[in-house]
């Protein structure tokens, strides 16, 4: 019997290696796998490359992982926000690398990794600093820049429901980066609010099919998310 459900956050983190590229879902707090990030902090892997839309907030979660010196590089679209204090300290001190990627290019690069596309062309960023040094090319009279697939060793995602085959659904805008990250990583770990029996999720409405998911762990996020 296939059973991707693991019983603890520690089990969910087993085997994550130093030097891994870790894709972290969420857009702000919504769809962010908070419990998995805390578990990764516990687990101890270091020298990580983290891919997330933001560079952490306050001194918890991703920011805490960075503050502990465990993140070598961050790839994101929006590093600087009101709460990105840890990132800014580390960045000014030269203690963390940064790759800024337009948000849509970031999503598309991960989708490409999941779909077996090593590189593709896009109009986004042409004529800007973010296209500097990249290959440019014309198609039908318009200029595009080549972007490469962005693959993860691990993806940490947050979902609403999950079953033992790893099928996931997301709630409202909690979907965001999670499905593309799930398909782009070698090992995808999902924290879910609800475990469902096999077949309970309507087959037409599975958002991430289990083929993209390695482990599922149920977490309690508190009443406000229920």
């Amino acid at each position: 019997m296939i059973n991707k459900i693991v019983q603890s956050l520690a089990d969910a983190m087993a085997g994550i290696k130093d030097g891994s590229t870790v894709l972290i879902g969420g857009f702000g707090a919504v769809g962010q796998p908070d419990q998995l990030i805390e578990a990764l902090i516990e687990q101890g892997a270091k020298d990580l490359v983290c891919v997330a839309n933001n560079a952490g907030n306050g001194r918890v979660g991703l920011a805490k992982l960075m503050e502990l010196g465990r993140v070598r590089k961050i790839i994101c679209s929006f590093p600087r926000s009101a709460g990105s204090v840890v990132f800014e300290e580390l960045y000014r001190a030269g203690k963390i690398e940064l790759e800024i990627v337009p948000q849509g290019t970031m999503a598309e690069r991960m989708r490409a990794a999941g779909a077996g596309v090593p590189a593709f062309f896009t109009a986004t960023s042409v004529g800007t600093l973010l296209a500097a040094g990249k290959e440019h090319r014309e198609f039908n009279g318009k200029t595009y820049v080549m972007e490469h697939a962005l693959k993860g060793d691990v993806a940490l995602v947050e979902a609403w429901e999950g079953d033992r085959w790893g099928n996931l659904t997301y709630r409202a805008s909690g979907r965001n980066f999670n499905p593309v990250m799930a398909m782009a990583a070698e090992m995808t770990i999902a924290q879910v609010m609800h475990i469902r029996e096999l077949g309970e999720i309507v087959p037409e409405n599975v958002h991430t099919p289990g083929i993209f998911v390695s482990r599922v762990v149920r977490v309690d996020r508190g009443a406000q998310w229920a």
Partner: protein, 213 residues
């Protein structure tokens, strides 16, 4: 010189959005435009984080923590709205399916260049978000911004000084002083001046020629 206040700029831009358009509104004054599109004029709002058919802010006791817009503010979903993932959401933008995007800006140049993400080449960690995707992908890009900086420097310019977000993308600019089309081979063309603002006043506050139609 009177001119529009922030609400007035948003309301003025809202007038020009016809029913049926798919529209992405950037953070700041652009977001306020939604408040001036009556719900019965169906304009479908898109948010980068995977929302199509966004509605107004909820009452404080009706906030759904799972539902925020690209500015991370609580929003609602209209009947007929839907959710998708980030790659699908940006396919809407990058594939040319969004009729209109309205952004704020530091500068707009007379050739349509927009600068709105980094305040200098030395700012090595600027936040780009989805601005470059929207600039390059939307069918039309409008900008809503103050006509000048707080210290009085023009934001409508002959050439952008700040790093570009997207070259030759802006089609129209709404400021506190008026509405200006960006016309290829010509530059800024005055479409409308705010109440109490003269062409001379608007020109004096601009770093590029304002043409009349």
């Amino acid at each position: 010189m009177q001119g529009f206040d922030r609400k007035g700029m948003a309301a003025r831009a809202a007038q020009d959005i016809p029913e049926g358009w798919y529209v992405n509104l950037g953070i700041g004054i652009p977001t306020m435009i939604a408040d001036y599109v009556p719900l019965e004029r169906e304009v479908i709002l898109h948010s980068e984080n995977g929302i199509l058919g966004m509605g107004p802010a909820p009452a404080p006791d009706k906030v759904d923590p799972w539902l925020v817009n690209a500015g991370k503010q609580a929003v609602t979903l209209r009947p007929g709205g839907s959710y998708c993932h980030h790659a699908d959401s940006f396919a809407m933008i990058r594939g040319g399916h969004i009729d209109l995007c309205v952004l704020g800006a530091f500068e707009v140049a007379e050739n349509g260049d927009i600068a709105n993400w980094a305040t200098s080449e030395n700012d090595t960690a600027p936040a780009v978000g989805g601005a470059m995707d929207l600039g390059a992908g939307a069918k039309r890009l409008w900008v809503v911004m103050e006509h000048t900086t707080k210290d009085g420097r023009p934001k409508l310019v002959a050439k952008c000084g700040y790093p570009l977000t997207t070259p030759r993308a802006v089609k129209r600019v709404y400021t506190n002083l008026g509405v200006f089309d960006v016309v290829p081979e010509k530059g800024f063309v005055v479409l409308d001046l705010a109440p109490g603002v003269s062409l001379e006043q608007a020109q004096a506050a601009s770093g590029a020629t304002l043409h009349t139609q």
